[in-house]
Amino acid sequence: MAVKVIIPTPLRVYAGKQESVEVQAKTVAEALAALTGTFGDLKKHLFSDDGRLRSFVNVYVNDEDIRYLQKDQTQVREGDTISIVPSIAGGSRI
């Protein structure tokens, strides 16, 4: 299935400055693997060393948080949009 993955601004520098990337996948896990396969530097920003999605990064399929679906086994359909939404705080150096 061709799905669009929207790259959030703070991570675009690691994804060739693109705001979205199209990948072929059947589940969220496959989509993210395809994404980090192409853009290796993204991996450490999305996943911790034990391979789990970092807790300050949320992933949505269309408008639903995958934590309330089937997590990374959530299936995706043709034309779905996967959004990566990291926490941002603006402002100071901390």
Partner: protein
């Protein structure tokens, strides 16, 4: 199930004799003639008490529009001082305010806009010790700029039962939602943990389109006013994402996490904690992602260069930063380093630098892992070079 509730009725009832003076009727006439606000709504605004945490990029439009709308009592929390880099977006302040405490400049501006309202100022760093400031207000608006304070505000609002109108920005993107409703999610439902320091750039590092906090802060003001007058659909359980470059709004669903340690069905955290520790920041140390990296100070570098040493200067900043000022280094932005490492000669002595020394510390760590042995990080970056060696180099 989200309950649509306005400001607790207690506020309006506590001041049952509240009316509008003739001048107020004139001032708020454009509200009064709208059925959605009307006299009832305006009186609710007059009785409302809103605490604005932060008077910077988000706080500026927020404070201005709440004061303009006639919110009867506005609390302002900020310990910072106006500096010239703020003026690109913090429109509460003018050039003549540079050097003044933000809280004083903000209060002056808002009192000038609306002398009829009460402005409370708290020139302090919000902390677990003084978070009870929130208690006297009906609604809290989070206009802060760092993770520890966001978690503190969130937890305090949940514990005290206050809605938290949240807005955050990065470069040209914003997020807005309302946390802290009894049936709604809180910040921790969305992000149980903060990013480790250094992993998510701040505005000072990533930059921000000046108008962006203006848009996001104004949306926060709109949501606050809606909560007070009890009209419209508030952003509870809804995360509004805004992209100023694409000029698009998107919306994602936010769900309350039943296992949330703060707002879940069985909360395990019912008190405020040490948020600096929670966010991995110890004391006043600048968080640097790479530690134990060999360093060279600007003065040492200057001495060696003047001596004619053959040093290769590697600049890991972005091209637009190079245009502002540079040390004639070889530019390889940090994000491209892994792909362009072959451009570097590991037999040469290399000094890596960036703006403040953080990105270049990452670069040095990466290059060490790639086998480079003669590599140093310029401590403090080009900012320190300007301070210690050549003041003609502009700081940004």
């Amino acid at each position: 199930m989200v309950t649509k509730v306005g400001v607790p009725e207690a506020s309006a009832k506590a001041n049952p004799a509240a009316t509008l003076s003739k001048e107020e009727v004139m001032r708020y006439s454009r509200h009064l003639i709208m059925p959605e606000v009307g006299m009832d709504g305006q009186l609710k605004l007059k009785a409302a008490k809103v605490l604005c945490i932060g008077t910077g990029g988000l706080g500026a439009p927020l404070g201005l529009y709440l004061a303009a709308a006639g919110v009867g009592r506005i609390g302002l929390v900020d310990f910072d001082v106006v500096d010239s880099t703020n003026l690109q977006r913090q429109v509460l302040f003018g050039t003549s305010d540079v050097g003044r405490p933000k809280i004083t400049a903000a209060a002056d501006r808002l009192r000038n806009l609306n002398p009829d309202i009460q402005i409370d100022t708290f020139e302090t760093h919000l902390s677990s010790e003084n978070a009870l400031i929130l208690k006297d207000y009906d609604i809290v608006v989070d206009g802060t700029d760092n993770f520890p304070t966001r978690y503190l505000v969130n937890d305090a609002c949940v514990i005290l039962g206050k809605p938290n109108v949240y807005g955050s920005i990065f470069r040209f993107e914003g997020q807005i939602t309302i946390f802290g409703y009894p049936d709604g999610p809180c910040y921790r439902c969305l992000y149980p943990e903060p990013p480790p320091p250094g992993l998510v750039p701040s505005c000072a590092e990533g930059g921000v389109l000046g108008v962006l906090p203006g848009i996001v802060g104004t949306i926060q003001a709109a949501e606050t006013l809606k909560l007070i007058i009890g009209k419209g659909d508030p952003l509870v359980g809804r995360l509004l994402l805004f992209d100023a470059l694409a000029m698009k709004f998107r919306e994602l669903k936010l769900r309350k996490n039943p296992d949330c340690p703060v707002c879940g069905t069985h909360p395990t955290q019912t008190k405020l904690i040490d948020y600096a520790e929670f966010c991995g920041i110890r004391g006043e140390e600048a968080p640097v992602a790479a530690t134990n990296v060999p360093e060279i100070t600007p003065r040492e570098l200057k001495t060696r260069l003047d001596r004619g040493d053959d040093l290769y200067i590697l600049d890991v900043r972005e091209p637009h930063e190079y245009q502002i000022c540079n040390l004639n280094g070889h530019l390889i932005p940090l994000g491209e380093l892994s792909r362009r490492v072959h451009e570097l000669d590991s037999s040469r002595e290399i000094v890596a630098h960036c703006r403040s020394g953080k990105r270049s510390a990452d670069a040095v760590q990466f290059l060490q892992k790639a086998g480079f042995r003669k590599i140093w990080n310029l401590k403090g970056g080009i900012l320190a070079w300007s301070d210690e060696v050549d003041p003609a180099v502009p700081k940004y």
